[in-house]
C-alpha cells in the first residue's frame, strides 16, 4: 500500500507554508558538544553499571553466605552428639567380658575378692 500518496491527499490547503513556518524551525543543527555530552553520560552509566552489578551481587551473596554458614553450623550441632566416655556408658559394650561394673567404678574390698575366689569352681 502506498501511504505516501494518502498523505498527499490529506494535507490541508497551504500546509507547506505552515509546515515551513512552525515545524522546520525545530530542525536542529549538528552539535559535537551534544555528542560528547552523550558519550560522557554513556561512559558514566557503564561504570555505574559495573558498580551496581557488584552491589547487587553483594547484597544477595553475603546474606546467603552467612545463612549457609549458620545452617551448616546448626546442622553440625544437632547431628553430631558429644561422645559419652564414662564407664557407665561403656558397660553395655563390655557385657561379655569378665569385668563387673562394680569393680570398675570402685576398687573391690577384701571380702569381694574373697567371694569371687570362693565362688569360682
Amino acid at each position: 500500500m502506498n501511504h505516501e500518496s494518502i498523505k498527499d491527499d490529506d494535507v490541508p490547503q497551504g500546509w507547506e507554508q505552515s509546515s515551513r513556518a512552525f515545524l522546520q524551525p525545530f530542525r536542529m543543527a549538528d552539535s559535537e558538544a551534544f555528542i560528547q555530552s552523550v558519550m560522557r553520560r554513556v561512559r558514566a552509566y557503564d561504570q555505574n553499571e559495573e558498580r551496581r552489578n557488584w552491589a547487587y551481587f553483594a547484597r544477595w551473596a553475603f546474606p546467603v553466605l552467612a545463612l549457609s554458614v549458620t545452617g551448616f553450623a546448626a546442622a553440625l550441632v544437632l547431628t553430631v552428639q558429644p561422645i559419652d566416655v564414662s564407664a557407665d556408658a561403656l558397660l553395655p559394650q563390655s557385657q561379655g567380658q569378665n569385668v563387673s561394673a562394680y569393680s570398675l567404678s570402685a576398687p573391690p574390698n577384701e571380702d569381694q575378692i574373697l567371694d569371687s575366689v570362693v565362688s569360682k569352681p
Binding site: G14, L23, F26, D30, F34, I35, M39, V42, Y45
Partner: protein, 197 residues
C-alpha cells in the same frame, strides 16, 4: 545522511566497544533533539531528555531486534521518555494564542517575513523557534509528536505506527487532525494569501 551499517555498530557496542556508540549518536542526535524539543518546548529540558534517551537506548541496546528500524526504536524511547516528563510536569503551561498576539504585537504579524529559508542570524532563528514553540505548544503532545515524526523526520506511516505503538488508521487520523489544528493556528500568523495559493 551518513551511511553506516547500524547493525554492525550495534554489534560492536554489544561486544564492549562503547565508543562505537558515538557513530549512532552522531547520526541521530539532531532528529532526536528535534523530537524532544517539539514535545517539551524547552531547549534545555529537551537537550537533557535527548541525552537521557540516548543513554536509555545504550542501556537496552541488547533488547533491540532488527524487526523495526533503529531510528524508529530510538524515537520510541525518546518519545516515551518525553511523555514521562510531560506527565511529571502534569500540565504544559502554554500561553493562549490571544496572549501571544498581544505580547508579540508587530513581531507576530511580521512573522512570515522572518521564516528562514535556510539562512538567518542566530537571533532571528531563535526568535522563529520561540514563536514556533509557542504555536506548537497549543497542540496536544501527541499531535506535536506525530507532526514532527512525519514532517521533519520523514518517517513513513508504518514507522510512525511502530514508534507510537498504534494502528496505521490511528496515525493517519491523528496526523490529519494535527495538521488541521496547526493550520488553524497558522492562520493567525501567516499571510492569508498563503492559503489560497
Amino acid at each position: 545522511m551518513e551511511s553506516i551499517d547500524e547493525f554492525q555498530v550495534i554489534q560492536s557496542v554489544l561486544r564492549g566497544d562503547r565508543e562505537a556508540y558515538a557513530a549512532l549518536v552522531r547520526l541521530y542526535h539532531g532528529r532526536v533533539l528535534s523530537l524532544c524539543l517539539s514535545m517539551l518546548l524547552d531547549r534545555a529540558e529537551a537537550e537533557d531528555a535527548a541525552q537521557e534517551a540516548f543513554v536509555k537506548a545504550f542501556a537496552s541496546l541488547n533488547q533491540y531486534t532488527r524487526n523495526a528500524s533503529f531510528s524508529a526504536w530510538l524515537y520510541r524511547i525518546a518519545s516515551n521518555h518525553c511523555l514521562d516528563l510531560l506527565r511529571k510536569r502534569k500540565r504544559q503551561k502554554t500561553d493562549s494564542l490571544d496572549g501571544l498576539m498581544e505580547q508579540k504585537g508587530d513581531s507576530v504579524s511580521d512573522f512570515e517575513s522572518k521564516i528562514p529559508e535556510k539562512s538567518g542570524s542566530g537571533a532571528e532563528k531563535q526568535e522563529t523557534l520561540d514563536l514556533a514553540m509557542r504555536v506548537l505548544g497549543t497542540l496536544p503532545p501527541d499531535y506535536r509528536q506525530v507532526l514532527i515524526l512525519r514532517e521533519l523526520e520523514g518517517l513513513t506511516y508504518e514507522e510512525i505506527s511502530s514508534v507510537l505503538k498504534c494502528s496505521l488508521d490511528a496515525v493517519k487520523s491523528r496526523l490529519r487532525r494535527a495538521r488541521q489544528q496547526l493550520q488553524e493556528k497558522a492562520r493567525h500568523f501567516l499571510n492569508p494569501q498563503s492559503f489560497t495559493k
